[in-house]
Symmetry: C2
């Protein structure tokens, strides 16, 4: 593992967990101190994030965490539904016994790992298990190009999860039930069922985030409202 590789992994995890806020600048000087790496290493790691769609770059203005907006989230969701439903259809149709086993294992893990961490934030282990479940679900499809695209889109969408204010215990239970449904339908080889369950799941997650965004906008207006003209 080279230095640049390590820093890239840490940067990626820190963005996916919201430790770097969406839209915030990624100053090389600041990152040098935080990650204890030279500018050269950082300037090699950061462009990789750009390629993955997790960061942006402008000449003479440095790097930024990818920015978020409701419009972009809706586009992202539409793209995910389009591609993932296609993949899951192929996957459930063509998946082998090994794929079935992997999916069961991934779901079992996801169902057991706690959603909340010690600090009240989302547990990093849960995020990893969640990413794994969705990846394995589509791995029955043989087209690696499309699978890679789906993974990339999910990663960008993950930025939005940590951007939302606070995940609730209620939403956690809903999500867990959705995962169970997806897993069951997939094992049963119920193609229309799994497609519908996955579509619902993706859209439900988006709606949760959009509601949260709307609420925040509302509060923001009140803060700058009649009480402080």
């Amino acid at each position: 593992m080279t230095r640049a590789e390590e820093i890239y992994q840490r940067l990626r995890a820190d963005i996916l967990n919201g430790r770097h806020e969406p839209g915030s600048r990624l100053r090389v000087e600041a990152l040098k101190e935080r990650y204890g790496a030279s500018s050269g290493v950082l300037r090699e790691a950061l462009p990789r994030l750009v390629g993955q769609g997790l960061a942006t770059f402008a000449p003479q203005q440095g790097f930024r965490v990818v920015t978020v907006s409701p419009e972009r989230l809706e586009e992202l969701t539409e793209a995910r539904v389009f591609i993932e439903t296609h993949l899951v259809r192929e996957s459930v149709t063509a998946g082998t016994i090994e794929w079935e086993s992997d999916l069961l294992a991934a779901h079992h893990h996801l169902a057991r790992v706690p959603f909340f961490g010690d600090t009240g934030e989302i547990n990093e282990g849960w995020l990893n298990a969640h990413a794994r479940f969705h990846r394995v679900l589509l791995e029955g499809c043989s087209n690696r190009q499309l699978r890679d695209i789906a993974t990339q889109l999910r990663e960008v969408a993950e930025v939005y999860r940590c951007w939302a204010r606070t995940p609730t215990e209620h939403s956690n239970r809903d999500i867990a039930a959705e995962h169970k449904t997806i897993c069951d339908r997939a094992i049963e080889r119920d193609v229309p069922g799994v497609v519908e369950a996955l579509t619902r799941h993706i859209n439900a997650t988006t709606n949760l985030l959009l509601d949260d965004y709307g609420r925040r906008e509302e509060e923001g207006k009140q803060d700058r409202g009649p009480s402080a003209p």
Copy 2:
């Protein structure tokens, strides 16, 4: 334009034009001399190619141009047909008058620019016009996520074009006719027509390349055949 930006553009163009062979190593030391840039600049530009899917990277082993294989080309083609037909459907349905005009202009340019350059190789201007035509065709669709994905897939597919042995005048005429059909059906707002034309076009290009690959394999076998046991 920063140094790294410039070098990135040149590297990208050189890969897309086959001046760096698929699978070949991109040694920093060699590129330093060729592009007249320092190692730092190159180590910033190369990871961007990796993110775009035009190069690969392995720790301690450096960068390589993306490798090609018939299987990967087939996966790529399947992915392109799946995504581009969806996009062109949206595009032709929702495209504005401005979009129509842009498409006509892009096709006119593509039809006029010569296919072969002075050296007998494919003309770089034609490659640019071709990329532009296909990009504009899908630009009537508002979902930027999906459009970007389609563009990225086409770019990777471009690597295969230069990998093929020699484009013929015959294949050139076929391709030009296909572009004309696509453009006409799009302007007529004939959705099923344009979807069929685009599907044919993508598959035809792939088949041309696969035939060429098969012929080359055949010759390779003869070379190493009974005459030299």
